[in-house]
């Protein structure tokens, strides 16, 4: 369908902006690019909710989220609570590997030794990861391994 293709293509454009726009701000200030990402977050979440059977859209949304974390690193912390929730519920309902792939970026960036992180954040990341890992292992029981390649990678690198 045309509209599905246009949505997928436009999501790529949003990701390109996220990849480029990385302003320099001090560690205590809110990164203005993250502020904008927070603003558009509900749209991306709604896409995941409404198009849960459309892998191209799920993959592109997850790719966009992944780059939000890769571009802004720990400055993306304000996004974390809602992002973690969507990645968990998205994987639980769709069992698409792309949610684990985006999860992986968070686990990598928000390691306990990353500078400027509060203990609460690292704990939240650990709990989130634990939840995703549990979901993943449950899913693994139900699905043949070839359908979970990202999951395998994820569990090997992060676990």
């Amino acid at each position: 369908m045309d509209s599905i293709l246009i949505i997928s293509d436009h999501l790529q454009l949003v990701t390109i902006f996220v990849q480029w726009i990385q302003p320099y701000v001090g560690p205590s200030e809110l990164n203005p690019a993250v502020k904008y990402c927070q603003e558009i977050f509900p749209v991306l979440s709604a896409l995941v909710d409404n198009f849960s059977n459309f892998t191209p859209i799920l993959e592109r949304v997850c790719r966009c989220w992944r780059y939000m974390v890769l571009s802004y690193r720990t400055a993306a912390a304000p996004l974390l609570p809602s992002l973690a929730e969507k990645l968990a519920s998205g994987f639980a309902s769709s069992r698409q590997g792309c949610f684990l792939w985006a999860t992986d970026s968070i686990v990598r960036e928000f390691t306990p030794d990353a500078p400027g992180l509060t203990r609460e954040t690292t704990e939240a990341v650990f709990n989130f990861f634990q939840q995703q890992a549990t979901n993943f292992l449950r899913a693994l029981n139900d699905l043949p391994p070839e359908e979970l390649p990202d999951g395998m990678c994820h569990s090997m690198t992060a676990g």
Binding site: M1, S3, I6, L13, V14, W20, I21, P23, V43
Partner: protein, 431 residues
């Protein structure tokens, strides 16, 4: 002939070359039935003589034998005997490649061979044989650009200069003779593909020429070709009619091909060339090449801000061109301009955003991504206190279209059938 060729690997080469067999091989070049295998035999011998110090005597014997064949080139090319022309070209080029060190050491003694290979390239109207000479020009360039062969470089400068002219003339698109001038290859798609591939190989030879002659000299030749075209044809240009456009397009292609060799501080020819290009008349292939050529010199433009505005206007106007090729070229060039001149374009963010929004939906996906890369790279240069507004202004329209499309997808009944209850329109309330 084949028997002699096979002996070359077993019998000491000097024994063959000093025997009456060598006359047999040379004479075999004059008979249609043995020509191919005689060429094969000669090239096998040349390869054996690559260690030029060891085989100097053999080379002295062989050299006059092959140079004597040079006089046949004119006749064979007149008769359009493509196979013989190709065989001779191959023989000369293989000799040149095998003896390239010697040519660099003794440029006077071997000048006739280098001239002969140039003649092969120049006379090859069908472009069947010329590619056989490409490697020779590369190998010779590799040697004569070394400090120790500086004399050979000076000696061969005129030949490389003529080589630029030969290459640019071969770069020209064909001139169809029939009434249908729109199909340049008369329906032969294979030939068209070959031509495109071949142009890029010739572009590499032009880069070799740049290394030998210096970039400014090569750019000067392009400049003169464009000037010459303007002098001869400029007055006859009318709306949509550009006489002899092939010549102009070839000059622009050569400029684009040489781009990688030109340093950002070239201050002699580019300041004269760039203003010529932005005034180039509108013909689809010429416009495409002009847009691509400007996109190749964006690093240079970053250091010459006074030329930026005209170039960018030219590129932005090309987004309205009826030809899809021109529009996609414009998107690619736009990206390079934004990436390389981001600091200069920073104050014009607002205009760029408006422009982006006005063209984004007219472009194919790849071009959409390219202009987004371009705009993104300019936005990235803004101070942090302007980032939020600029990000929002550029990205909100994209997000808005995503929401509209999501709405229309949920409205489509087929979508409902495929995706089931998840897609009820009532759930599309992101904010």
């Amino acid at each position: 002939m084949e028997c002699i060729t096979s002996w070359i690997r077993e019998v000491p080469l000097a024994d063959i070359i000093n025997s009456p067999l060598m006359d047999v091989v040379t004479n075999a070049l004059h008979s249609d039935s043995s020509f191919e295998s005689a060429v094969e035999c000669f090239t096998a011998i040349f390869r054996e003589t690559r260690d030029v110090d060891e085989y100097l005597e053999a080379i002295k014997n062989l050299y006059p034998r092959i140079i004597a064949q040079r006089s046949r080139l004119a006749q064979v090319s007149e008769e359009e005997d493509a196979e013989t022309f190709k065989g001779l070209t191959r023989m000369f080029a293989e000799a040149g490649e095998a003896w390239v060190v010697l040519i660099a050491r003794l440029p006077n003694d071997f000048r006739a061979l280098v001239e002969t290979i140039l003649e092969c390239a120049a006379r090859d109207k069908e472009k069947d044989a010329i590619s056989l000479t490409f490697n020779f020009w590369y190998e010779l360039k590799q040697y004569i650009t070394l400090e120790r062969y500086v004399e050979a470089r000076a000696q061969f400068a005129d030949i490389y200069s003529k080589l630029v002219d030969v290459m640019v003339s071969h770069l020209e698109f064909p001139r169809p003779e029939g009434s249908d001038t729109s199909d340049l290859f008369e329906g032969d798609r294979d030939q068209e593909d070959r031509f495109r591939e071949f142009r890029h190989q010739m572009g590499d030879v032009l880069k070799d020429c740049c290394e030998v002659l210096g970039v400014t000299e090569c750019l000067r030749k392009t400049y003169e070709q464009i000037e010459q075209w303007v002098g001869r044809n400029g007055a006859q240009v009318s709306q949509g009619q550009v006489p002899n456009w092939q010549q102009l397009e070839a000059a622009l292609f050569s400029l684009r091909a040489m781009g990688r060799m030109v340093p950002p501080d070239e201050n002699i020819m580019l300041p004269r060339l760039i203003p010529l290009i932005v005034d180039i008349p509108d013909q689809e292939k010429v416009r495409f090449q002009a847009v691509m050529a400007l996109g190749r010199y964006t690093e240079w433009t970053a250091g010459h801000p006074e030329t930026l505005e005209k170039q960018l206007n030219f590129i932005m106007a090309a987004f309205q061109h009826p030809s899809k090729e021109v529009r996609t070229a414009a998107a690619l060039s736009f990206r390079f301009f934004c990436n390389d001149c981001a600091e200069l374009l920073k104050p014009f963010c607002g205009q760029l955003q408006q422009f982006y929004e006005s063209v984004i939906n007219t472009l194919p996906t790849t071009s959409q991504e390219e202009i987004t890369e371009g705009l993104g790279s300019v936005l990235a240069k803004l101070p942090a206190d302007q980032t939020f507004e600029a990000f929002k202004m550029s990205c909100d329209p994209v997000i808005k279209r995503i929401m509209e499309m999501a709405q229309s997808a949920t409205d489509e009944s087929s979508k409902v059938a495929i995706a089931g209850e998840c897609t009820r329109p009532s759930r599309w309330t992101p904010y």
